[in-house]
Amino acid sequence: MAKTIAPGTPRLPWSTRLDKFQRRYAPYIFISPFFLLFAVFGLFPIVFSLYLSLQAWNPVQGLGTMRYIGLENYVWLMDDPWFWRSITNTLWIAIASGVPQHVLAIPLAFALSRGIRRFRHPLTAAYFLPYITSAVAVSLVFLTIFGTQFGILNQTLQYLATAPWSAWLFGGLADALPINWLGRAPNIKPAISILVVWQYFGFNVVLYAAGLATIPKDYYEAAEIDGANGRQAFFNITLPLLRPMIFFAVSLTIIGNLQLFDQPFILTDGTGGSSQAGMTVVMYLYRTGFNWLEMGTAAAIAWLLVLLIGVLTMIHFRFFGRSGLETRD
C-alpha cells in the first residue's frame, strides 16, 4: 500500500489507513480461514486422487508400488458394464428420491409456518428425527421393515389391498404381494429411494423453515388484506422469496444424492443387490478400491463422478443461479 503513496504526500493518519485496509481486504480476510484449512486438508487429497487415477495401485502393497498407466483407468471404465450400470442406478435413485424430498418439504414448511398454530415444535422435531438417527439403527430397523414375509411395509400394503375401505385404491397390488423388496432387481431402487426420502425430507423442512423465517410477516398481512388466500400467498410470496433457499437445498440434493452410499450399502448388504440394481457409483468406487484393491480405478471412478456432479450442478447454476444466487437489495 505504501508504494502507491507518492513521496511528499502527507501520510494519512494510522486510524484512517487501518480503516481503509480493513474495508478493502475485509472479504478476503473473512473467507481466508476456509481456504487456509482447505489448502492443508482438502487440496492434497484431491491432488492425490487425481494423480492416483493415472496409476495402477494395489494399496496393500504400500505407496511405493504405484505404476503410471496414463488414462488407461478411464478408458477401461468407458466400456465397463458395471460402471455404467452404477451411473444409471445413481441417476435413477437421485431423481426418485430427490424430487419427492422437495415436493414434500416446501409445502410442509409452509404449512408449519402459516397453516397451523399449534404443535409446530413437536411436528418439526418428528420430521427431523430420521436425519438424527444413526445409520446403525436405521439399517436394522429398515431391513426389518422391508422384510418379505413379516416386513411391516408388506403387511401394511396387504392390509390396504384387502380392507374394504382402501381396496378400491390398493386392490391392484394384491397380486403382487408380498413384494420381495430387497431380493428382486426391480424393487431395490424404489426401496432405497423410500429410505432416502424418509431420512432426508425433514432436513429439508428445517432448511426451508429457516428460509421462511427471512420472509417479513407483513408481506403476508398485506396479501391477506388484498384478499389473497393461502394458496395464492404460497405461490406469490413464499415460493419467489424462498428461491435462494430452494436453490441451495436443490444444489445440496444434487451433490448429495449423486454420492449416495450408506442407504444402498445397508439395504443390499454391500453387494449392490440382485443384478447390482442398487449399486451406486460411490458404492462401486468403494468396493473397487477397498475390496478389490484397484485404487487407481477407484480414483478414476471418483473423478468421473465429480465430472457428472459438476456438469449437473453447472446446469442447475446456469438455469437457476440468476435468481437463486441473487442478493437482497
Binding site: A26, I31, F48, V136, G147, Q155, A213, P244, T327, D329
Partner: protein, 290 residues
Amino acid sequence: MRASAKNDARVVAEHGLGARIGRALVYLLLVALALLTLFPFYWMFVLATHLQTDIFSAPPPMWFGEALQRNYDALLARLPFLRNIWNSFYIAGLATAFTMFFASLAGFAFAMYQFRFKNVLFGTVVASLMVPPVLGIIPYYLIIQWLGWIDTPRAIWFPAMASAFGIFLMRQYIASSMPRDLMDAGRIDGASEFRIYWSIALPIVRPGLATLGLVTFIGQWNNFLVPLVVLSSRENFTVPVALRTMQGLIQTDWGAVLIGTSLAVLPLLIIFMLASRQVIEGLVAGSVKG
C-alpha cells in the same frame, strides 16, 4: 369501509366450517407424516429393550421388553461408553462452534461484498463438496500422521472447521435476509466491517446460524469414516466407531448396540430443541423488514 368489510369476510371464512375442515385436514396430514417418521425411531427404543433372540423373531416385537438393564450392562461391559459419548460431544462441539463462526463470516463476505475472484472462489467452495470423501481417506491419513495427530480428537474437529456446506448455506441465508442498506448504515455509523458482521448481520441470521449449528453437530456426531482410521484406542473412539466394534463376524449384540444408539441420540435431541427454537421462533416472528 370496503376494507373492513373484506376483513369481516375473512374473519368469517377463517372460522367457517370450510376453513375448519381444511385446517383439520392439514393437521391430519401433518400428524400422519409425523407418525411415519416417528415409527422407526420409536422402534429403535423398543428393540433396545429386547434380547437378540426376540429382536429377530417374526413378527418382531412392537412393544417394550424387559432386557433394558441387561442390554445396558452388556454395552458398558464392552465399551467405555460414557467416555465415547464425551469424545463425540467434545469433537462435535468444537467443530460446530468454529464452523458457525468461520462459515457465517465467509458466507457474509460472499453475500455482501463485491471483490475480485469472488465467483472463482465461491465456485471452489461449491466444487469442494463434489468430491466423494471415501477416496480421500488415504491421503488424509498421511496428513494427520505427518502432523502427529493420530489418535487425537483434533485430527477430526480441526479440519472440520472448513465447512463448504456451511459457507454455501450462510451465503444464501445472509443474501436473502440482510438488506444491503444495513451495510451502509453501519459504515456511516463508523462500524468496522467485522463489527457490521458481528453486531448487525449475526443477529439477523440467527435462524440460519442455528440450522447450520444443528446440521454441523449432527454431521460430526455421526461422522464415521475419518474417526475410524485416525483414532486407534477405544478410549478415544467416538460413538459410531465404538458401537460398530460390536458388529461381529457372525453375531452382533443388537440389543446392546441399540441401547447405545438410543443413548447417543439423546444429546442430539437436546441440541435440536435448542436450535429449533431459534428456527421456529424466527418463523413465527418474521424478519427484518426490507
